[in-house]
């Protein structure tokens, strides 16, 4: 990237991504604003925005030793959750006014129990998301959102009207459109942005006021259109996995000469496929329907074959040469999902590499070696 304005905006995104309590959140808090953390992208951020809070996707500090959390969680806990809870115990997430946990996975749902048992926050709420996406489940999820709305109202002494919800939906739909535009640029033969840079942009969007984020993102996209773009890469790669949020990890992959052009992750394309239907009568129903039926699912939900089809479609759209399945160790969800994806990709002769990592970036040499070997396989096939 050479465009100076784009680089300056990227710095803004990087600051938001690399610092838990970043400058935007500080400014917001200084103005008396509230921030509500949430654990999973199944949680409609719109609900939190409508309550007048910044929705903050919970992350842990990566470069910390897990001293305190050992007394709370055993060795078979995913390191995302252990780092997150360690960060909670160190009081580095004390700027949060509350947290909303989703029962997405076995590790994450216990954040709810720990946070309640040990009184980490005044407001700790669990929103449960059905695994199926039929009419009955959408109705059930709508009720869950109604409960969440009532809890947010009581906690923050606000009235979340339908108008506020629609306003919030429009704001977040705008984010979706902009992210779609950003990713569209990556379909080009010379994408103007790397995978690592894109990830920084996406993560930043979960850690700053949405209005501000949308303004920066719009400007960023406009500047990127003037970029010549990246060429000379060895292969176009896709990453499939959970909440992989460390741009450094993507950079290590791209250091070998690959270019990550797309993904199916919790900070990636799954966040902005389609939009919440603004023509619906009821905003909560619109949200329930979008999050449960419209947006692509993850292993939290039933219907693995649909997910395989989604990955294949995105891989084709972005002219991907190979797919990396990245996951955090001890993740049952992705451990089995990647196995099934591997089989599905074999059907279409798409090379698939599985990388298992800890939450904090480690074993960089090994990652490089494996990616290197993977690229050689891809290049060998192209000859």
């Amino acid at each position: 990237m050479t465009n100076e304005k784009a680089l300056k905006i990227l710095e803004v995104f990087l600051e938001a991504t690399n610092n838990i309590f970043n400058v935007h959140l500080r400014e917001w808090k200084d103005k008396g604003g509230r921030i509500t953390g949430y654990t999973c992208s199944y949680l409609p951020e719109e609900m939190i925005s409508a309550a007048g809070c910044i929705p903050f996707r919970l992350r842990g500090k990566r470069d910390i030793s897990l001293e305190s959390v050992d007394g709370y969680m055993g060795q078979f806990s995913c390191t995302y959750v252990t780092h997150l809870y360690e960060t909670v115990l160190r009081e580095d997430l004390n700027f949060l006014d509350g947290i909303v946990v989703i029962n997405t996975c076995d590790h994450m749902r216990r954040i709810y129990d720990n946070a309640r048992f040990y009184n980490n926050y005044d407001f700790v709420h669990l929103t449960t998301v059905p695994r199926k996406s039929g009419r009955k489940e959408v109705e059930f999820f709508r009720e869950e959102l109604e409960i969440l709305k009532n809890e947010l109202e009581a906690q923050y002494s606000v009235h979340i009207t339908d108008d506020r919800l629609w306003e919030s939906i429009r704001l977040h739909n705008e984010t979706r459109s902009l992210r779609n535009e950003l990713y569209h640029l990556r379909k080009q033969e010379r994408p103007p942005i790397t995978g690592a840079e894109t990830l920084a942009v996406m993560v930043a969007g979960t850690a700053m006021p949405k209005e501000e984020y949308n303004r920066y993102l719009k400007e960023f996209i406009d500047e990127l259109r003037t970029e010549k773009g990246n060429d000379g890469y060895r292969a176009r790669l896709m990453v499939v996995g959970p909440s992989i949020e460390d741009p450094e990890f993507f950079r290590v992959i791209e250091d070998s000469g690959a270019l990550i052009v797309t993904d199916s992750t919790c900070y990636g394309t799954r966040l902005f496929q389609a939009k919440v239907d603004e023509s619906d009568d009821d905003p909560l129903s619109a949200l329930a329907r979008y999050y449960l039926t419209t947006r692509p699912g993850c292993p939290h939900s039933v219907g693995q074959s649909k997910r395989s089809d989604y990955v294949k479609r995105i891989a084709q759209d972005y002219a991907v040469n190979g797919i990396i399945g990245a996951r955090i160790k001890f993740c049952e969800n992705w451990g089995m999902e990647h196995h099934m994806l591997d089989d599905a990709m074999k059907e279409d002769d798409i090379p698939f590499l599985i990388l298992e990592k800890e939450y904090q970036l480690g074993g960089v040499g090994q990652v490089r070696t494996r990616v290197q070997a993977f690229l050689e396989i891809i290049e060998g096939r192209q000859l």
């Binding site: 055993g74 590790h107 720990n114 059905p130 695994r131 009955k136 292993p299 451990g335 599905a344």
Partner: protein, 431 residues
């Protein structure tokens, strides 16, 4: 070694048959012969379904076996090969085979062994008429079920995904009633069998009797000494909920009646012997190792210790289904299958109910020590070890935390456990 379904079932029949012969020689083990007989009948029925192309469901003990029983639909448990561990003392060859398939599994080692066993032996499963898939109680179960759906020979198998709300509340009960109705519709459509609600009521009321009797078995365990060996009542639970032949059957009622009589007789008999094997009373919180009979022997012979209660055997009034209305009955079936019983009452849902049970058992069963949440496949349990530890502190009861694999005795072996227990009992001044 890959096995065809019929071949595998016939092999199991042989194994259970010869195991029964072995157990006949040990008078003390006669009480579990009815369980083996039920297993034999189950396998025979499975073979009949395969050979005669009769309706056959693949499900689990928490996919509403009450409904299957009422509709006279035969089913088999998707986790059966993993569960056979419970006869590990007698089934060396089978266990060797099971472990070999685990070692060849393409799934990461961190995935629960039960699922690595199921998925690596998938070709040995009879292709069912219909598959009742679940998304609870844990990630592994849900993804294993997804795996089975992808398996080519199963791709035309009709599937019903059973949704189990995470929380227990009024909304959840209403949802369960609706979900169980949908399950009934699905089964009627794909098996041709019709459900008679009156028959279902009879079956459910029989299972209610079973659970009431299981509570009586548990009550006997409150006495010091307890009349049953370690984990014995798990066999009772198995007959009630996990046995296609035992579920809802008056024969099971007779079996448990006799079980209780045997227990009472033992209490009235030689208490000294019982007391010798129970110098230390243990509560096992997580799912017990399925190779637990080896563990039970170790505890008795080395330490005079007994697992007087575990969460799989434990039953309380929430197991009893209100049959006064169709809605309450169907909702109750859904609830029981989502929140109660082996593993479900540990893993599914927020931790509150689990903790309440732990507190109740510690206070009412004269527990000397608690074994913590250690099965390595239970990732959610790993994340709540601290909460259990602090709960035990408040209860002033000793806690031993260690990791083991319910389905693979090689991970933490019986010898490893001997050392762990020896040190623990010594330090805590137990025994």
């Amino acid at each position: 070694m890959k096995k065809e379904p019929l071949e595998f079932q016939r092999e199991l029949l042989e194994i259970f048959g010869s195991t029964r012969e072995m157990l006949e020689e040990e008078e003390e083990l006669h009480r579990i012969l009815p369980i083996l007989d039920a297993e034999v009948i189950t396998i025979e029925k499975t073979i009949e379904c395969i050979e005669q192309e009769k309706p056959l469901i693949c499900g689990s003990y928490f996919t509403c076996p009450e409904i299957f029983s009422a509709m006279d639909i035969h089913w088999y448990n998707i986790a059966a090969p993993a569960f056979f561990n419970y006869l590990a003392l007698f089934l060396d060859d089978l266990m060797e085979e099971v472990y070999a398939s685990v070692d060849q599994s393409r799934l990461p080692n961190s995935v629960c062994t039960a699922h690595r066993i199921s998925t690596s032996r998938i070709e040995a499963y009879p292709v069912p008429t219909a598959f009742i898939s679940v998304s609870h109680p844990c990630d592994g179960y849900r993804l294993t079920n997804e795996y089975f759906k992808q398996y080519r020979p199963w791709q035309n198998v009709e599937t019903f995904d059973f949704e189990a709300p995470y929380r227990i509340d009024g909304r959840g009960m209403k949802f369960y009633a609706s979900e169980v109705r949908s399950l009934i519709d699905f089964l009627e459509k794909h098996t041709g069998n019709k459900l008679d609600m009156a028959r279902l009521k009879t079956v459910v009321e029989e299972t209610n009797k079973h659970y009431e009797l299981l509570m009586e078995c548990n009550d006997l365990c409150r006495s010091i000494p307890s009349p049953f060996p370690s984990l014995a009542n798990l066999f009772v639970w198995h007959m009630i909920q996990n046995s296609p032949v035992g579920n809802g059957s008056p024969e099971t009622t007779k079996f448990i009646d006799q079980w209780i009589k045997d227990g009472v007789n033992r209490l009235e008999g030689n208490k000294d012997d019982l007391q010798d094997e129970e110098k230390i009373r243990i509560l096992w919180t997580d799912m017990v190792p399925f190779w637990g009979m080896e563990l039970a022997v170790l505890l008795r012979e080395e330490f005079g210790a007994k697992i007087v209660m575990d969460l799989g055997s434990f039953s309380d009034s929430t197991d009893i289904i209100d049959t006064s209305t169709e809605e309450s009955m169907l909702g109750g079936i859904g609830y029981r299958n989502a929140h109660n019983g082996l593993m479900l009452n540990v893993v599914h849902g927020p931790i509150d109910d689990f903790l309440q049970r732990i507190v109740f058992i510690v206070k009412n069963y004269s527990i000397d020590c608690v074994i913590g949440l250690g099965h390595i496949g239970h990732k959610d349990c790993s994340a709540t070890q601290g909460i259990l530890k602090d709960t035990c502190k408040k209860l002033n009861v000793h806690l031993l935390d260690f990791s083991y694999d319910c389905f693979d005795s090689r991970v933490t072996t019986v010898d490893d456990m001997k050392i762990l227990f020896a040190n623990f009992f010594d330090v805590m001044g137990l025994g």
